[in-house]
Symmetry: C2
Subunit: 346 residues, 2 copies
């Protein structure tokens, strides 16, 4: 498709170029009906003016915010790109804010909301439980993506959307996979925090054992170090090294995130053990590095692109009052690669 | 140190809490001298009020922007964190903007500058040559970090700072290291774009050969695919796979970024070759994954934390007119790990 110019828009609307310009700049000196007609054509054609000044004026009118818990977590990279692109296509300015581990993302959102141009918020990651009071205070439409926030409200009154996978269910699937391979001494590495995805994934691990009438090897539940980034490779490495040095019997390691699993692999290799011949290592998330690591990492792959696309599409639909808020659960995929194998009898 | 409260500030200044509050909110109803005294104490003690509304009002007064070329590149992660923390400590709001591969970061900056609260800009990554006209237009202090932008100005008139490593020199060091290990057929993987770090690093590769009177193996200079993110693992993989399939003799692969090197490793392993026994693979940047990969990646490690700290410190000094702009070159470190070895005679 050839690039659409302001002249094309003017021709299509049967008006002059300066009228289109006035419409886009929300100039008072224009008939509201004419303006609506022009803006409809602009919307339909996806025309993007390349004049910075005009861009600025236009984006001054409306913006959406994306609040990311751990902006430097590569898991969110693709999602950020997709949401950024879509916001740009819709000609919204995007405010990108990093939420720190100790910060409450709703506090950050309530602060941002005082910015009058804000039209909606996407939360990437974060806690799955929030104070009802704070949720009620937030007036613009908001969507939680990659985290499923509990709602305490009556049916039909839901005030926000959730786009996520069922972390407990998917985690159970991975644990069952390892159990099916004959493993019983499966270590689980996660962060020791309530109301986070790490906790949901641990529940899945736990229930896989319980439902089969097997005893959970509680001595193999390992929490990452508090004082190091909870989902970085280093923490996976440190936690696994400690586990291996403890001398406890372990035949498989299931880390609640791929970054932790990569760190776990390094600790296993350093201990002179082979993956998966001596010990299986699996992760969760489906990050790109898993395909490139040696060995390739078996993991639970979240459909991050689809989730991000759905989140931003839904947000704009809610803003435009074309749709109600929704709770959408995506399925994740267990990707079998090279890092897990059937337990060998020694 | 116990947390400082607004009461401590009031006591220290010999005024009431409401006066401190008025000073922080820049209330007109306060003696300018009293205000200055209070703000000095606040500055000195590093007091951070925990009231969101007040935070917002205060940060309304001033902000800095960070423009990142490739925000999802993990290379910038640590830098973003450090600059964010320091801005917060100085009680500046931070605007984080992603600059796309095809965007000119100066255009983005000029747009942002229309925002009246902006006090300074940090550019992370980007092009090393810019139009003098655009550089002149930008009025707030700005600093290029992790990229050394050429200045065409007369001495003593420099209008911006550069904080970077000497990419050409460090890249030459890596190439010399491989030449010293006996390699002559060294492939170089980079992006085919002028005025980028990829180009500087290629110059270093080139001059290492030339200065030793060796012929540059031009058939081994491999450009990444245009249509895939230039610095991602996938592109390193695709480019290396093509090289290996070409049947050209190659004993070492030097990728202009660690992410490309990881992708290269995967292609080498898939071809049934061992690293480093059959082929050496090295990278550039010093990203965390290099320490965790199997084998551990030999690379040029940039002092990203020191660079980020210096950049933000210098920016605030320039804003406060305590310092002039500076051109600072940091040294990078060649980290020998496991992925490169002496060339074996076959």
């Amino acid at each position: 498709m050839a690039e659409i110019t302001i002249k094309d828009i003017a021709r299509e609307c049967g008006v002059g170029v300066s009228t289109v310009s006035r419409a886009m700049n929300n100039h008072p000196d224009i008939n509201p009906e004419t303006r609506k007609k022009i803006m409809d054509v602009i919307e339909r054609t996806g025309f993007i003016p390349n004049n910075s000044a005009r861009n600025l004026k236009r984006t001054d009118a409306k913006c959406i915010a994306m609040l990311v818990k751990g902006i430097t977590n590569p898991f969110f990279s693709k999602m950020i790109e997709i949401i950024e692109d879509e916001a740009k296509r819709k000609r919204y300015a995007l405010v990108l804010r990093h939420v720190e581990a100790q910060e409450d993302e709703l506090d950050v959102a309530l602060e941002l909301e005082k910015e009058k141009r804000l039209r909606g918020i996407v939360f990437l990651g974060g806690m799955f439980r929030h104070s009802q009071e704070k949720l009620d205070k937030l007036k613009v439409p908001f969507i939680f993506c990659a985290i499923s926030v509990e709602t305490f409200e009556q049916a039909g009154e839901v005030r926000f959307s959730n786009i996520a996978v069922d972390d407990c269910l998917e985690s159970k699937k991975m644990t069952e996979y390892l159990l099916d391979l004959g493993h019983r001494r499966i270590a689980f590495i996660t962060e020791n925090m309530d109301e986070t995805i790490g906790r949901s994934r641990m529940e899945g691990y736990w229930s896989a054992y319980v439902e089969r009438g097997l005893e959970v090897p509680e001595d193999l539940i390992c929490y990452v170090q508090e004082d190091v980034d909870h989902y970085c490779m280093e923490n996976g490495y440190l936690t696994t090294r400690k586990l291996l040095q403890s001398g406890r019997e372990v035949t498989a390691i299931y880390a609640a995130a791929d970054s932790l699993a990569i760190g776990a692999c390094r600790a296993v290799l350093e201990a002179g053990l082979r993956i998966p011949e001596d010990i299986s290592v699996v992760g969760y998330d489906g990050m790109e590095i898993g395909e490139y690591y040696n060995p390739k990492l078996t993991t639970i792959k979240q459909p991050v692109e689809e989730m991000a696309k759905e989140a931003i599409r839904l947000l704009f639909d809610v803003i435009a009052e074309r749709k109600e808020h929704q709770q959408i659960i995506f399925s994740a995929e267990l990707v079998e690669r090279e890092s897990a194998a059937r337990l060998q009898e020694h």
